[in-house]
């Protein structure tokens, strides 16, 4: 459909001051074309760069001037070559003049379509606008821009300007920037243009809408305040998830050489009787069944249609209420936009009056909506005012769907105040958290809000289209890593972290996390990193911890009363966690000690050593948990002597390699007499180094 085609000219500033962001410009522009290749194949795109050493454009040839502007690509239907051009933008050498570039772009559109084409024509300017524009020959710059704006409107062109500023542009002359901003704002005021300022590479990637979607109304009709008072409105979707493209299934049955093979796959559903899987039940013999208790009640579509709920189309006001009565997390779906019927001044006034009154009074409206006749259900939702900041754009409303009673599940959760005091943060911890929340601010005043949804591109889609492009050139291309710029969306900003390092460190210091040791192995996939605030002992314990953790068996379902031969570690763990009698702990420790000794004494050529070490590690952990280091430390000293006597060297070596130390004071505060150092020295001692 011709009216749906878009003619677009990209005006890209490639001057030296833009070099830093050109990679992002290349990415976003090629993404734009990649999406067009799939969704809008008939769109036409031209590319103009300015700030180049060379000059190559028709206007220069015809009237002179317009230097340093190169038409990289005349307007043509999108194709792969265009992507290749956009992926390798030239790096310019002079500071470009964006006004000249706009003139060149407009000229291209006018010449190409000579007013015949009535569809969408768009200019897209990406610049930092920090360099002066040339003085116009007649009149002021403002007049010149004014003339351009009139011409632009007359030709039905739209312009979208993305101005790269902030940290992305170097220190520039404030006066020139202000002048340029003023000039650009004339376009916004007088034409259907929109200017956005971005100051981070992510928002540059997100600022340009790469997918062109023609908005479709969900509803056109009356917003009924009452029987007497109605306002004509159009309803659009304000947000709608752009889905991952649905890829078709590929059949490899047909020879790949065959030209006519479609390689498509048909999905076929067959309905078969449960009792007899050979017969296929034809569609007309099928009937839908709904559960009623244990039974299934068949209800034919005809029956259902005859009696089902059939609301009349219409959007009706139920009433106004305090905004605080609607909690934000009740919003159920994507968001709708209510605008007054375009061109209907009175409707616009009515919407504007209600929206502004609602805003002033902090009220919202509750509506009941049936968008179209035959809709199965009503929608109840909340209308909130959207006061337009732009003089050109009328006030409007946002509409969010609210849940019905049936949709709300009233689960109960324990109150935080009912938690044991040890689970609640103390004063220092609360202060650390306060400071953390305050400092890790993504929207500091005076700076652009980071990760603003409006300017945040979808990293998955970006990656998909990138991979698609790679694969079209090389079918077996691997999935590319996530773009560095986009990593900023998925991972914390290192710079922000670095600035607030002391706050982060204090947070880590104040809160300590421990793995719960009494847990099934299968459920254990958390805590990949060790808290950096922990002391060295923890780091050393890493290996042994992991071992002990691995060997923790099931929860004590079976009552184990003795440490067996097959799974001594598990048995031990189970006994340690038995709480029905305090004696179990002592018994477990005793039995474990005996087990370890018997393992060692009955070992032939060290075949039991590994099991023994595992047992020791488990015992160590258990003793720390119970804060009873005595039995363990005694055992270790005994073992040390034992090994010396028997001249066993492999076993101590094994222990040393696993960093199995004595239990130190820091692990068992009240009961151990060893400092960390002493505990460690024990290891050195145990190491069987020949001491003459």
């Amino acid at each position: 459909m011709a009216r749906n085609k878009e003619k677009l000219v990209l005006l890209l500033d490639v001057g030296p001051s833009m070099h830093g962001v050109l990679p992002e410009v290349e990415k976003v522009c090629s993404m734009l074309v990649e999406k067009k290749l799939i969704f809008n194949k008939d769109d036409e795109v031209g590319v103009v760069v300015f700030g180049t050493e060379e000059t190559n454009n028709e206007l220069m040839d015809e009237v002179g001037g317009y230097e340093n502007i190169v038409v990289l690509q005349d307007i043509k239907v999108v194709d792969g070559d265009l992507i290749d051009i956009l992926k390798k933008l030239p790096r310019g050498t002079v500071d470009g003049d964006f006004l000249d570039a706009i003139v060149v772009g407009m000229d291209m559109l006018i010449k190409k379509y000579k007013g015949i084409y009535k569809g969408k024509k768009r200019l897209c300017l990406i610049t930092n606008a920090i360099h002066p524009t040339k003085d116009s020959l007649e009149g002021s710059k403002e007049d010149q821009v004014g003339t351009l704006a009139v011409q632009m409107t007359a030709q039905g062109m739209k312009m979208e300007s993305i101005v790269v500023r902030g940290i992305l542009s170097q220190d520039a002359n404030k006066r020139i920037m202000d002048e340029n901003d003023r000039l650009l704002s004339i376009f916004s005021k007088k034409t259907r243009s929109r200017t956005v300022y971005v100051d981070s590479p992510i928002s540059l990637l997100g600022a340009l809408k790469t997918r062109r979607v023609t908005p479709v109304t969900v509803f056109r009709g009356h917003l009924e305040l009452s029987q007497q008072m109605k306002i004509k409105v159009w309803v659009y979707k304000k947000t709608q998830e752009e889905k991952f493209p649905t890829l078709k299934k590929y059949s490899e049955k047909a020879p790949s050489t065959s030209k006519f093979a479609t390689h498509q796959v048909m999905v076929d559903y067959e309905y078969k009787s449960v009792d007899d899987s050979s017969t296929v039940v034809p569609p007309e013999q099928r009937i839908k069944g709904y559960r009623y208790g244990p039974q299934v009640v068949p209800i034919s579509d005809a029956e259902r249609d005859a009696v089902k709920f059939k609301p009349e189309k219409g959007v009706k006001l139920l009433g106004f209420t305090d905004a605080s009565n609607i909690i934000r997390h009740y919003y159920m779906k994507d968001v709708y936009l209510f605008i007054a019927e375009p061109g209907n001044t009175r409707a616009i006034l009515a919407v504007s009056a209600i929206a502004r009154a609602m805003k002033e009074m902090n009220k919202v409206a509750i509506l009941r909506c049936v968008w179209r006749q035959g809709q199965q259900n009503v929608v109840v939702g909340v209308l909130t005012p959207n006061i337009s900041q732009n003089n050109k754009i009328p006030d409007s409303f946002y509409f969010n769907v609210l849940p019905f009673i049936e949709d709300v599940r009233e689960y109960q959760f324990p109150s935080f105040n009912s938690f044991p005091a040890s689970w609640l943060p103390n004063e220092q911890q609360q202060m650390a958290a306060d400071e953390f929340v305050q400092m890790l601010n993504l929207a500091p005043s005076g700076k652009e809000e980071a990760l603003l949804p409006e300017f945040t591109p979808n990293p998955v889609l970006e990656r998909f289209y990138h991979h698609l492009e790679l694969k079209s050139k090389q079918p077996d291309a691997a999935v590319p890593p996530l773009d560095e710029t986009l990593k900023r969306i998925t991972e914390p900003d290192l710079e922000l972290d670095f600035e607030n390092k002391s706050v982060l460190d204090s947070l880590c210091k104040h809160f300590e996390l421990k793995e719960n040791s009494k847990l099934k192995k299968s459920a254990r996939r958390l805590l990949p990193e060790k808290p950096s605030g922990s002391n060295g002992e923890d780091g050393n314990g890493n290996v042994s911890d992991a071992r002990a953790v691995d060997s923790i068996g099931q929860e004590p379902v079976v009552k184990i009363e003795k440490i067996g031969d097959l799974t001594p570690v598990q048995d031990f763990e189970v006994m340690m966690t038995r709480r029905d009698n305090p004696e179990w702990v002592g018994k477990a420790i005793r039995e474990m000690r005996d087990k370890i000794l018997s393992l060692l004494t009955n070992s032939h050529g060290g075949d039991n050593y590994l099991v023994a070490v595992e047992c020791i590690i488990a015992l160590r952990k258990g003793c720390i948990l119970e804060q009873e280091p005595g039995p363990y430390n005694n055992l270790m000293r005994y073992l040390y002597r034992y090994c010396q006597e028997k001249e066993i060297s492999t076993f101590p070596k094994l222990l040393a390699s696993m960093d199995v130390t004595l239990i130190s004071k820091s692990e068992a505060v009240d009961s151990s007499n060893f400092t960390d150092d002493e505990a460690r020295r024990f290891l050195d001692k145990i190491k069987p180094e020949p001491k003459d």
Partner: protein, 625 residues
């Protein structure tokens, strides 16, 4: 990796089957309805609906019937038994006198409610006297104690299942506050003692006994005679008991049909706060659209369930495809193929589950930053001890500083940015209204946000803005049409309630479908109040002026009307390009394009939906061929 190709695209959060399974597994309720059937229940009345007197027995029966009808939809895994006492006939496993357990075929005595049970129970009153009969069970001179027997039978019925997995209750309906009143002396004391002991034994087993007394207007139901001891009431509760019991009876009758979901963790996620500090969170779905329930396809002849087999067929060769096929995307004139592994690899852009990126003031969260129902997160110390502590500290800071957290949620279905909004606990007398924790709100990406409001700017003029007077009139209007205590718990879903009503009518073979009320219609009465009408009229006058004709006075409609009329004209002309009758006779319709076929349909105001074959057959039908 052996992946089900459909799985990659599935939204892992909302798996109805899974929920169903969960429901059957977790905590259930076992209830025995114990109904007094003594002659006194039939002789006394209380005022019911429409000021008509209703006999107590009828009140109890209809109350249970309504309750069952609700239960079968809300919590169909709960099990019930219905048991009468003070009956002439006896039917119970213990063969005790004066106790009759009502049941229907294909059902154990304590079992899930079935349509048949509800249906037969609904008409029990007709046959009651004939088949079960009413008779005082406690009479002087006899050693029978029907109340004791009834409690014993109920206890035996509830022997099934563990108290850990099921909540067991006995609901006792009676209008006799002094069942042993007819007895004297030792006999009375003895019976009272044994009955109370029985009740205590039952309660010691973890079964609760609830009393639903039926009260006559002129007579008091004296709970303290026997029942306060039997059900274990404290003296403080005594005064409150009768009013609250009356309320309970009412509540049982008009419960909302609402499917109950048991609390279940959707997933356990790790929340990376900063490097080296990761805590454990559980996520819950507190708000999800409820649907009528899963559809089972049946064979309409046998009413047996059908199983669905899905097969993939190659369009070129017609052969069956066994292995999960690759996917492709046509691009640059060729088919670019992707394996499922590659697709899941593309989607895997983050290692962590949930990664904190920073905080923003609450005002940065706009009304249009929404895509899906939010998910609730609550800390858990189960795997990582100390999680709750950090979570609570952050929760408090965020509430105090009015900030929300921005985090990246790297789930496999759609990795995206989320806002974590802290909510404080809100409790009322009725219990917890809002749990303490954070709500995860899914944020849109730039490509998900549309700017429809920007597409119609007037080229030259600024957009009209309401003036002060108009805003004031609007404010007056808003004050008039105010819903004071609106909450989202106000409206039942009319379509769903209707569906349940239809389902019940069909299942029980009822003749008419019970009325359902659409609570979502505007309050016409309220809007017709003179003060409201006046405010509306004043506002209308101020924005629309004197002579505003809604239907005709606007440019837009004309334009649109013009455009659509023009389009139709074109379509009609286009339709004239073909000799349709001739094409149809020669079977050449299939050679036309779909667009061409649609011109005919448009010109004749026929629907233009469906596949090409459907369009052709529609044209042929229209021509009468």
């Amino acid at each position: 990796m052996d992946l089900d190709p459909e799985d990659v695209f599935k939204d892992e959060e909302d798996d109805p089957d899974n929920e169903f399974f969960q429901q059957s597994e977790s905590s259930k309720e076992y209830v025995v309805y114990l109904v007094d059937a003594s002659p006194k229940m039939f002789n006394t009345t209380c005022p019911g609906k429409d000021q008509k007197d209703e006999i107590h027995f009828h009140v109890s029966i209809s109350c249970i019937a309504e309750s069952l009808k609700t239960q079968i939809i809300c919590r169909s895994y709960d099990e019930v038994a219905i048991c009468f006492f003070n009956t002439r006939e006896k039917k119970n496993l213990q063969d005790l006198n004066g106790v009759f357990v009502f049941n229907v075929a294909e059902r154990e005595q304590l079992d899930r409610p079935t349509a048949r049970l509800i249906k037969e129970f609904d008409c029990i009153e007709e046959s009651f006297m004939r088949e079960i009969g009413s008779q005082y069970g406690i009479v002087p001179g006899s050693r029978e104690n029907s109340l004791y027997n009834a409690l014993w039978v109920a206890q035996a019925l509830l022997r099934k299942g563990s108290i850990k997995t099921a909540d067991k209750r006995i609901l006792l309906f009676t209008n006799e506050d002094d069942p042993f009143g007819s007895l004297q002396g030792a006999a009375k004391a003895d019976m009272t003692r044994t009955t109370l002991q029985r009740a205590k034994d039952i309660q010691d087993l973890g079964i609760s006994i609830e009393l639903l007394p039926l009260i006559r207007l002129d007579e008091e139901f004296n709970v303290s005679v026997l029942y306060s001891d039997l059900i274990g009431l404290d003296s403080e509760d005594l005064a409150q008991f009768i009013p609250s019991a009356g309320q309970k009876l009412e509540d049982m009758k008009d419960q909302l049909r609402k499917r109950m979901f048991t609390k279940r963790i959707i997933r356990r996620i790790t929340f990376h706060i900063v490097k080296g500090l990761s805590i454990q969170l559980n996520t819950y779905a507190l708000i999800r659209p409820t649907v009528p329930g899963a559809i089972t396809w049946l064979d309409s002849v046998t009413n047996r369930p059908l199983k669905i087999e899905r097969s993939l067929i190659c369009e070129d060769t017609g052969s069956l495809i066994q292995e999960p096929p690759k996917r492709f995307q046509p691009y640059r004139n060729e088919n670019v193929k992707f394996s499922m592994d590659e697709i899941s690899e593309i989607k895997r852009i983050s290692t962590g589950h949930l990664r904190l990126l920073g905080f923003k003031p609450l005002c940065c969260l706009k009304d249009y930053h929404n895509l899906r129902p939010s998910t609730f997160v609550y800390p858990s110390d189960q795997e990582v001890v100390g999680s709750s502590c950090i979570f609570i500290a952050l929760h408090r800071s965020m509430l105090r500083l009015k900030r929300f957290a921005v985090a990246f949620y790297g789930g496999s279905s759609r990795p995206q940015l989320v806002a974590l909004v802290a909510r404080d606990e809100i409790t009322t007398a009725g219990g917890q209204m809002e749990p303490p924790g954070m709500h995860m709100i899914y944020l849109p990406y730039s490509d998900d946000i549309r700017d429809a409001e920007e597409i119609f700017p007037d080229t030259e003029d600024d957009a009209p803005r309401a003036d002060k007077d108009q805003i004031q009139k609007a404010a007056a209007l808003i004050k008039r049409i105010e819903m004071k205590d609106f909450s989202v718990f106000q409206f039942a879903n009319p379509a769903l309630q209707r569906h349940y009503a239809v389902l019940q009518a069909l299942a029980l073979e009822e003749d008419d479908i019970p009325e359902t009320i659409d609570e979502t219609v505007p309050d016409e009465e309220g809007l017709a109040r003179p003060a409201v009408v006046k405010a509306i009229e004043e506002f209308k006058l101020s924005v629309y002026g004197d002579n505003y004709d809604e239907e005709n006075d606007h440019l837009g409609k004309e334009k649109v009307g013009g455009a659509s009329r023009k389009r139709k004209e074109i379509a009609e002309n286009a339709a004239k390009d073909y000799d349709w009758a001739d094409l149809a006779d020669n079977g050449q319709l299939k050679d036309l394009t779909v667009a061409a076929l649609k011109t005919y349909l448009n010109a004749h105001d026929l629907p233009v939906t469906g596949k090409k074959e459907a369009l052709i057959s529609r044209i042929l039908t229209h021509m009468g061929k």
